[in-house]
């Protein structure tokens, strides 16, 4: 059978299989072992199916692919419109890739309310995929909010001591911000009568949305706030460290790996796609915030006494690169930004998995409680080092490609952006290697640490794919960039056109 016959349905299938799995899981008897295996099977199946996307993706083709566009609700004209371009396709695959790893990493660490955990995880997966594939603003908002609840519950139910504070903070920050986006979406519907992203884009470009000119700056801001909090951009990042520290491992992995990317994805898709003019005029201060985020995140990460908080702040720094790349409006910058998103998902996801593995053994993230771990846990230390290096941006590993392209792009846009942001390469080496030294090198300081067991086969099984992915992404980035590049070109075309028009005047 020709597997490309699946094309119109594949996105629906990939999106909803986890949900179907979650529903089935609800009726499962409470046998934890079976539940885990089932969740793993579902997530792996989703991953395998999601590979259909890159396999059948036509590089360089304009517009969205694997589209499906059905009317869902007629009176608010809501369509079930899914589709991916090169950017969202890989984000979908990233999501489906990370979820099985999360299942594996939660195998033993979650022993209470196992069923609920995996149900939430699978629901979360559906919502995350949905965010990336939705082309109808309503659908997008639905999935966007849909990620919020399972994530807040994962943090709040399975987190650590201050989990409730963290969960509430997470929820409120993102909720408060996203209602502005909702207001903007409603505005669009009220004025243009459609939620369809493509239709809206066309209508805006043709000047067919009444009142758009005056409202656009506010609409831009409304979208921007929602995404900036999610990214998170300085100074609205303070929910992130708390959320990460308290979240269970799988939660942290998905939070850093996918949820933050939803913010940057949104910036790319909507803020650039719908408001090219505002994006251009607002770029300077957004870039300033991004650069502050890069440096600030790194500096604050450096002095964190808590391992997970350190990684969390490093995310602030890394995501600053993404925003910088997006608002550089250069081909390289945007491609790099998307690549950083993917790479950060893998490497920071990996770091969080590693942190979680440690927590299972030691029940602390305090760096002062660790030290000298390379002696009892050499394999673990090796994986950790590899992931740290990927995160630092060592060439031939995934982190480098994106960062390099972002910096080059930013430099093209304005030299000072590139120069300031490039200091990030120094900072990241600083905080990560210092942390690595304090955790792994030297003699074992606390006797409890002497007998820590090394990685089990299951943990290795969760870590290996991430490590291999990090390497492949660093060695053969074109596999990804081929698809990303044209999509990005389409995304910045309006902005670039405008710039040339302005310069032409």
């Amino acid at each position: 059978m020709n597997s490309s016959a699946l094309n119109p349905y594949i996105l629906t299938i990939v999106t909803f299989i986890p949900l179907a799995g979650a529903v089935l899981l609800m009726f499962f008897p409470r046998r934890d072992r079976d539940i885990r295996w089932f969740a793993l099977a579902v997530s792996l199946l989703t991953f395998v199916l999601s590979l259909h996307l890159p396999a059948h993706f036509v590089n360089g083709q304009q517009g969205f692919q694997f589209e499906i566009n059905l009317q869902w609700i007629s009176t608010p004209n809501i369509h079930y419109h899914l589709g991916v371009d090169g950017v969202s396709m890989w984000l979908v695959v990233l999501t489906t890739f990370l979820t099985p790893l999360c299942v594996m990493i939660s195998w033993k660490s979650i022993h209470d309310r196992v069923k609920e955990f995996f149900i939430l995880l699978l629901v979360l997966q559906t919502a995350m995929i949905g965010v990336f594939v939705a082309l109808d603003l309503f659908l997008f908002y639905f999935f966007w909010e849909g990620t919020l609840i399972p994530m807040a519950l994962l943090i709040g139910m399975y987190g650590h001591e201050r989990r409730i504070y963290a969960a509430v903070k997470f929820f409120l920050y993102t909720m408060v911000a996203s209602v502005f986006m909702l207001a903007a979406i409603i505005w669009f519907y009220a004025k243009a009568g459609t939620f369809d992203f493509v239709a809206l884009q066309t209508a805006i470009q043709a000047g067919q949305v009444p009142g758009f000119a005056t409202a656009a700056p506010w609409l831009f801001l409304a979208f921007f706030v929602a995404f900036a909090v999610k990214v998170p951009l300085f100074p609205v990042h303070t929910w992130l460290p708390d959320a990460h520290v308290e979240a269970p491992t799988a939660g942290s992995v998905l939070l850093a790996g996918v949820l933050l990317k939803m913010g940057t994805y949104g910036l790319l898709r909507f803020n650039l796609g719908l408001f090219p003019e505002q994006a251009r005029s607002n770029a300077p201060w957004i870039i300033a915030l991004a650069i502050i985020g890069i440096i600030y995140g790194a500096l604050v990460a450096m002095i964190q006494p808590n391992l997970k908080k350190l990684v969390a702040y490093s995310s602030v720094s890394h995501l600053g690169f993404v925003v910088l790349g997006i608002f550089s409006f250069t081909q390289m910058g945007l491609t790099g930004a998307v690549y950083v998103m993917l790479a950060h998902g893998i490497s920071t996801g990996g770091l969080f998995m590693l942190c979680g593995i440690l927590y299972e053994r030691r029940h602390t993230y305090e760096i002062s409680q660790l030290g000298g771990l390379a002696t009892p846990m050499p394999v673990y230390a090796t994986f950790f080092l590899f992931t740290v290096l990927a995160s630092v941006g060592l060439p031939l590993l995934n982190g480098f490609i994106g960062e390099f392209l972002v910096l080059a792009g930013a430099f093209q846009a304005k030299a000072v952006y590139g120069v300031l942001a490039a200091t990030g390469v120094i900072w990241s080496a600083g905080y990560l290697l210092w942390m690595y030294q304090r955790v792994f090198y030297g003699k074992v300081k606390h006797d409890v640490n002497l007998t820590l067991p090394d990685l089990t086969a299951r943990e290795q099984a969760a870590l290996w794919p991430a490590a291999v992915a990090a390497l492949v992404m660093g060695v053969a980035p074109l596999l990804w960039i081929k698809a990303i590049d044209p999509a990005v070109r389409a995304a910045i075309q309006p902005v670039v056109q405008m710039t040339t028009q302005v310069m032409g005047r």
């Binding site: 909010e145 409603i186 004025k191």
Partner: protein, 484 residues
């Protein structure tokens, strides 16, 4: 003079309800006073379900009835349906509630049925005096119902507060009717509309509208006439709260819509604007620090009244008022679904004498009663306004109507409020899922009737969130009908 037969069909739901109310009244004394009133409850439920089906027959006979006292149009049918469904669900949920509370009084069901007559009639009555009577019917029955937990001093107190303040407010409404009558010489809403549209509008009419808004604002618990709400909701039996926070409210909103739009009442735009904003802010802010779930939801209902009022002021220059009206109708319906659901869960969880109604009692509910907690979570999410729940589309339509009318400021206040609101609803969810269970709070099985009523509320909430189109289409059409 005997009215034509079709007239009776036009009030068929009311007739059915009354008939069953009388049946209940008659059946009650026949039962052993020490036995549970479950059969009576089932009888009442049958009546309510028949009333629901009667609304379909009613819908077949649009038009005026009883010398222009009643007007059956889509608008009326919509609210009839909503109100009767609420009654049916609440009756069903009450059966097990009455059993756990050990209240053995068949009058309870009779009062609900009779009260529903008033609530239903509110939406179809176009004669202000009839409106007043309907209002009193729905009010007086709820005054009594609020005091049904007679062993609890709080219940009687809430009954008293509701009664005194309610009568106080209806007096204002009545005075407003009188002044309106004085200003126009008529009490027929549509005739008043004609008069007001055609001639010079006397100041008396403005004052009349003002006083009616005071009275109705009280009934819908809009700030600053909301003060009774938290106390009454806290003290009244939970199923009754489910009823009175939705049924009379829906009816009062229907009346308000008819008076403000069909009667072309003048000058209320900024007034309602301010009331909406005040209600949203006071309701949401007040709810933030509440620890009693019933009280918390009482404040939330104030806020929801505020959101609903936003739809009232969505008056685009194009004159397409039906968007706002239909949004309000949709909101009333979906709010009814989710709030009834939430209070039914609370009623079940409260146990004897509603002992467990504080947030602390809800700690760990997700652990001990996962299904109940999950259902309550859905209702709470709907109250927050998370997509694929009715609450989302309700807010969505309201705000979208307001944006159509270029009320950007109001919408921004609204969305910020709904974000604040997320906090306190989330608190309940947090307690349920993230706190350790409290000692001694019992785990109870969900009785069939309650389960069924919860299922109805849940299905409606989700239905309105997934395929709201039909309902909204209907609302849009009936809003137009109502305006004609």
């Amino acid at each position: 003079m005997i009215p034509p037969g079709a007239d009776y069909l036009r009030i068929l739901p009311e007739l059915v309800l009354t008939f069953f109310g009388i049946l209940v009244m008659l059946a009650d004394p026949l039962m052993d006073p020490h036995k549970d009133r479950k059969p009576i409850g089932i009888l009442a439920f049958v009546g309510a379900v028949l009333a629901v089906s009667a609304t379909f027959i009613q819908a077949q006979h649009p038009g005026l009835a009883f010398s222009g006292m009643v007007r059956v149009d889509g608008f009326a049918v919509f609210f009839h349906f909503v109100v009767t469904v609420i009654a049916a669900v609440v009756i069903l949920a009450s059966i097990s509630y009455m059993k756990t509370q050990q209240i053995r009084a068949g009058e309870y069901y009779g009062l609900i049925l009779f009260g529903t007559v008033g609530m239903a009639l509110l939406s179809s009555a176009i004669e202000l005096v009839l409106v007043f009577i309907a209002l009193e019917i729905s009010s007086i029955s709820t005054y009594v119902l609020a005091g049904f937990r007679r062993r609890a001093a709080t219940s009687i107190e809430s009954s008293l507060k509701y009664f005194l303040l309610g009568s106080f407010a209806t007096a204002f409404f009545l005075y407003g009717v009188a002044l309106m009558f004085g200003a126009t010489g008529s009490t027929d809403i549509y005739k008043i509309g004609e008069v007001l549209r055609n001639g010079n509008v006397p100041t008396l009419a403005f004052v009349g509208v003002a006083l009616m808004i005071v009275g109705l604002g009280f009934k819908v618990a809009s700030a600053p006439f909301h003060v009774w709400t938290p106390d009454v909701y806290e003290g009244a039996p939970s199923p009754v709260v489910a009823l009175m926070s939705t049924g009379p409210k829906a009816g009062a909103f229907a009346v308000m819509l008819r008076i403000l739009f069909a009667a072309s009442a003048p000058g209320w735009f900024w007034l309602i604007w301010v009331l909406a904003v005040l209600s949203m802010i006071i309701g949401n802010i007040g709810a933030l620090v509440q620890n009693n779930v019933k009280r918390l939801l009482a404040y939330s209902s104030i806020a929801h009244a505020g959101y609903l009022l936003v739809a009232f002021v969505a008056l685009p220059k194009t004159g397409e008022y039906n968007y706002g009206i239909s949004a309000a109708m949709f909101y009333a319906a979906s709010y009814a679904a989710m709030n009834v659901g939430a209070f039914i869960v609370i009623s079940h969880f409260g146990s004897l004498n509603e002992r467990y109604t504080t947030l602390d009692d809800y700690a760990g509910l997700g652990h001990r009663q996962p299904i109940l907690a999950a259902i309550l979570t859905v209702f709470l999410l709907s109250l927050i306004g998370i997509p694929i729940t009715g609450g989302f589309f309700a807010k969505f339509y309201v705000f979208s109507a307001a944006l159509k009318a270029n009320l950007v400021g109001l919408v921004i206040i609204g969305v910020i409020n709904s974000a604040i609101a997320a906090y306190y609803y989330l608190r309940i969810i947090v307690y349920m899922y993230m706190r350790e269970p409290r000692e001694g709070v019992p785990v109870t099985r969900i009785p069939a009737g309650l389960g069924f009523s919860l299922a109805v509320a849940l299905i409606v909430t989700i239905y309105l969130g997934v395929v709201p189109g039909r309902v909204l289409d209907f609302a849009l059409r009936s809003a137009q009908e109502m305006l004609r």
